[in-house]
């Protein structure tokens, strides 16, 4: 009797299809070897929102009875494998109905496996990932956070590369042959994708993580009221009104004590207070009321509530005054304005360093110009030098009666330039 429990932690909506392909792929692969399996999403994470962390699960077992045993639980509490498809979630997860910050490795069993898609080194990732009281294995699949969940689907083979890597991690449940067979049959599979999975299988390597390694911070947490502690009529106390800062000029809105956005963003704004013209637009247009009004009339983006949408950068009229920078570049959520006020020169150095990579640090969920994502993929990932769009849109061309090399260009989408599904 044996079983395998995996979770996929991902950015809601952006990676929704990606995550469900991975978990379904796990089950289909296991079925090829006569095992039983089920894939499902975390109930509390639905309906999903753009960028908000969410989880899907896959359970595979030797027998139907053993699977049923595990399905009796609301959701898995112990895992053999955690798959994280956006490395900024290495800082922790506050999913939809989760309160406080859950370390990415929290549910891993001793000697479990954490598989992360990332372009960072293990040591850099471990600056974010919280320490754990038991050793585990860290696997890095080279690659950026995939957009596979968008309707305008951009193919990068992340789902099959994860499946290939998993065949290395848990070969007793998913042999690489079974994975290949499952991919070939999936409606989103293709021969090219089988090759990608096999490449990942051959190349992926792990690094053991000792209990002393990782981010030693205590994750943000708090107690929820028990049902008998709730107020009559299940009324919820409203937020108090915000408070002035340093006299009457500044103002800080009161913020929810139970929902923070520490792990909701893939990017965060970096502000050049020396060039700000105090136009108020960032403050006014921020949907998350992030900005504290400082006594000198500047606006400080408070990282307790920023979800990293980039609207402030988009509305700021001053060139390079607000720059969205990948969340991976930051170690804390401290106030930028305080840093600037303490030492303006040091701040300038810090800011310049953070924003230097503006062109190259891709938004994990977006793009600065149309086609950027495809360009980066073509150069960056482990696809064996073949164009990423070959044989795409990812549909199993053979199954649809076309040789896999045939390109269907007649009805290309005018947004992406990518051909529509055959017969569109």
């Amino acid at each position: 009797m044996a079983h395998l429990i995996c979770e996929v932690v991902y950015r809601g909506i952006f990676q929704k299809n990606l995550a469900s392909r991975i978990t379904r792929g796990i089950v289909l692969s296991a079925r090829k070897a006569g095992r039983w399996g089920i894939a499902f999403g975390r109930y509390g994470d639905s309906p999903q929102r753009n960028g908000i962390p969410a989880k899907d699960f896959a359970i595979v077992a030797d027998s139907k009875e053993e699977l049923e045993q595990h399905m009796a639980r609301y959701e898995p509490k112990e895992l053999h494998v955690t798959i994280c498809v956006d490395d900024t979630l290495g800082k922790g997860v506050e999913s939809w109905a989760w309160y406080g910050l859950q370390p990415i490795n929290r549910l891993l069993l001793p000697d479990g496996h954490l598989l992360v898609t990332s372009t960072q080194s293990p040591d850099d990732l471990l600056k974010d990932i919280h320490t754990k009281d038991s050793p585990y294995h860290l696997w890095i699949l080279p690659g950026k956070a995939s957009f596979g969940g968008l309707w305008v689907y951009k193919e990068d083979h992340t789902e099959v590369r994860i499946l290939g890597a998993l065949a290395k991690i848990a070969p007793q449940f998913l042999s690489i042959d079974a994975v290949s067979e499952a991919i070939r049959e999936a409606e989103w599979g293709s021969d090219l994708k089988v090759d990608s999975a096999r490449k990942a299988y051959e190349r992926i390597e792990s690094r053991p993580v000792r209990i002393t390694e990782g981010n030693p911070e205590t994750p943000y947490a708090f107690e929820l009221p028990r049902w008998w502690e709730m107020r009559e009529g299940v009324t919820i106390p409203s937020l108090p009104i915000g408070k002035p800062i340093e006299g009457t000029k500044g103002y800080r809105p009161e913020r929810s004590t139970v929902f923070k956005k520490f792990s909701t963003r893939t990017m965060r704004p970096v502000i050049d207070f020396d060039t700000c013209v105090k136009c108020t637009l960032c403050w006014l247009q921020c949907p998350d009321s992030c900005f504290d009004v400082m006594p000198d009339g500047l606006y400080d983006a408070n990282m307790e509530s920023c979800c990293g949408c980039g609207v402030c950068e988009a509305v700021c009229p001053v060139h390079n005054c607000i720059t969205m920078v990948n969340e991976a570049a930051f170690e804390d959520n401290a106030s930028q304005w305080e840093m600037w006020r303490r030492d303006k020169d040091a701040y300038k150095v810090w800011l310049t360093e953070k924003i230097q990579d503006k062109v190259h640090v891709a938004r994990s969920h977006g793009f600065r110009y149309r086609g950027q994502y495809e360009e980066e993929l073509a150069s960056g990932s482990d696809l064996g030098g073949r164009p990423v769009t070959e044989g795409i849109p990812g549909e199993n061309a053979e199954e649809k009666g076309l040789p896999s090399t045939v390109h269907v260009h007649e009805s290309a989408s005018i947004v992406t330039g990518i051909p529509e599904a055959p017969g569109a």
Partner: protein, 341 residues
């Protein structure tokens, strides 16, 4: 006597904000909501209640602005807020306004004007709740504002099409097919125009877009200072349902106005007034081509040139053929002379 004025529909005094520097610094809808990155509807909530001020009760119809805003035992609201059923924003607005009035009349609470705002999504307001909104707009003795935040789909339940979903958009109910490319072939309902035309005793109906924050807040302030029921329709870009990079939310709001797809106007005591960029268009400024707006969104990614041309022609028609451009869809009968009998 104070009471007497209250019973005669006294409203709060809310002067328009004269410029962005005069906008209230306080937030009455703060952070801690779990809407999407770049959710324009969350911004509408924040600006709406910033404009209304602290003496306000907000009622919310089921949808993203309920579910994502007030997940289990948490809230971003500073002012009192209550969830009301999907489709019942009109009833909730009327009932709350009438309840307040009765309590004040009986001396059970201090007589003072309190803003009552009920919001609803396009599904809750333009489809299922339309009847209740219509009824509320006929009760001129109760002060309330109904704000329809239009993200052009049933967004909370994962993007089903509503009566306000634009032509051709990809939703979970209208995915582009392999045989038929365009599944949703109906044109968006003209809610504000319909409600303004159909409720002669409703003294204020307006359309707004939060990309123009100060103008939007000033429309809310005006609606709250006009006695009786009022209605505002807000167009809200929704990165999840429209499928675009969240940073484009603001820009897409502007483009909706600049292309003439969503005209900004207010109808006060029966008089139509265009404002903002829309006024410039009425005065002769060229509209931007709709493709600039449509092609930034994944939900139109399947559009071909033919579809773009059709969409453009329909928008042109709104501007060139309608009795009142963008507001009243009647056409003049060519060469007709008004009938005298």
């Amino acid at each position: 006597m104070a009471e007497a004025t209250i019973f005669a529909n006294q409203t709060q005094t809310l002067e328009p904000f004269k410029g962005v520097k005069k906008v209230t610094i306080e937030e009455y809808f703060s952070s801690g909501h779990r809407t999407c990155q770049g959710c324009e509807s969350a911004l509408v909530m924040k600006l709406m209640v910033k404009a209304a001020g602290p003496r306000t009760i907000v009622l919310g119809s089921t949808g993203c602005m309920y579910v994502a805003n007030t997940t289990y035992y948490s809230t971003p609201w500073v002012v009192p807020w209550m969830h009301t059923q999907l489709g019942s924003s009109g009833s909730a607005a009327l009932g709350t306004a009438a309840g307040l009035k009765a309590l004040m009349k009986k001396g059970k609470m201090k007589a003072e004007p309190i803003n009552v705002i009920a919001f609803c999504g396009d599904g809750g307001g333009a489809d299922m709740g339309l009847g209740a909104i219509s009824a509320t707009l006929t009760h001129k003795e109760y002060n309330s504002l109904i704000l329809l935040y239009d993200n052009e789909s049933y967004a909370n339940t994962d993007i089903q099409l509503s009566g306000l979903t634009p032509y051709g958009a990809h939703t979970t109910f209208s995915p582009p097919g392999t045989v038929k490319r365009i599944i949703h072939t109906r044109w968006k309902k003209n809610v504000a125009g319909m409600l303004a035309a159909g409720h002669p005793e409703c003294r204020y109906v307006a359309t707004v877009c939060a990309s123009y924050a100060v103008e939007m807040m000033n429309r809310v302030r005006k609606a709250l200072t006009i006695p009786g029921p009022t209605f505002i329709h807000s167009l809200d870009p929704c990165p999840k349902g429209w499928d675009y990079d969240p940073m484009l939310s603001h820009e897409l709001g502007e483009l909706a106005i600049e292309t003439g797809i969503f005209p900004l106007y207010e109808v006060e005591d029966g008089v139509v007034k265009y404002y903002g960029k829309t006024k410039a268009i009425v005065d002769g400024r060229k509209r931007k081509p709709v493709r600039e707006y449509l092609l930034k969104q994944g939900r139109f990614a399947h559009f071909t040139e033919e579809d773009l041309a059709y969409f453009q022609a329909k928008v042109d028609e709104m501007w060139e053929k309608w009795e009142m451009p963008g507001v009243v869809a009647f056409r003049k009968q060519p060469g007709a002379v008004p009938s005298v009998n």
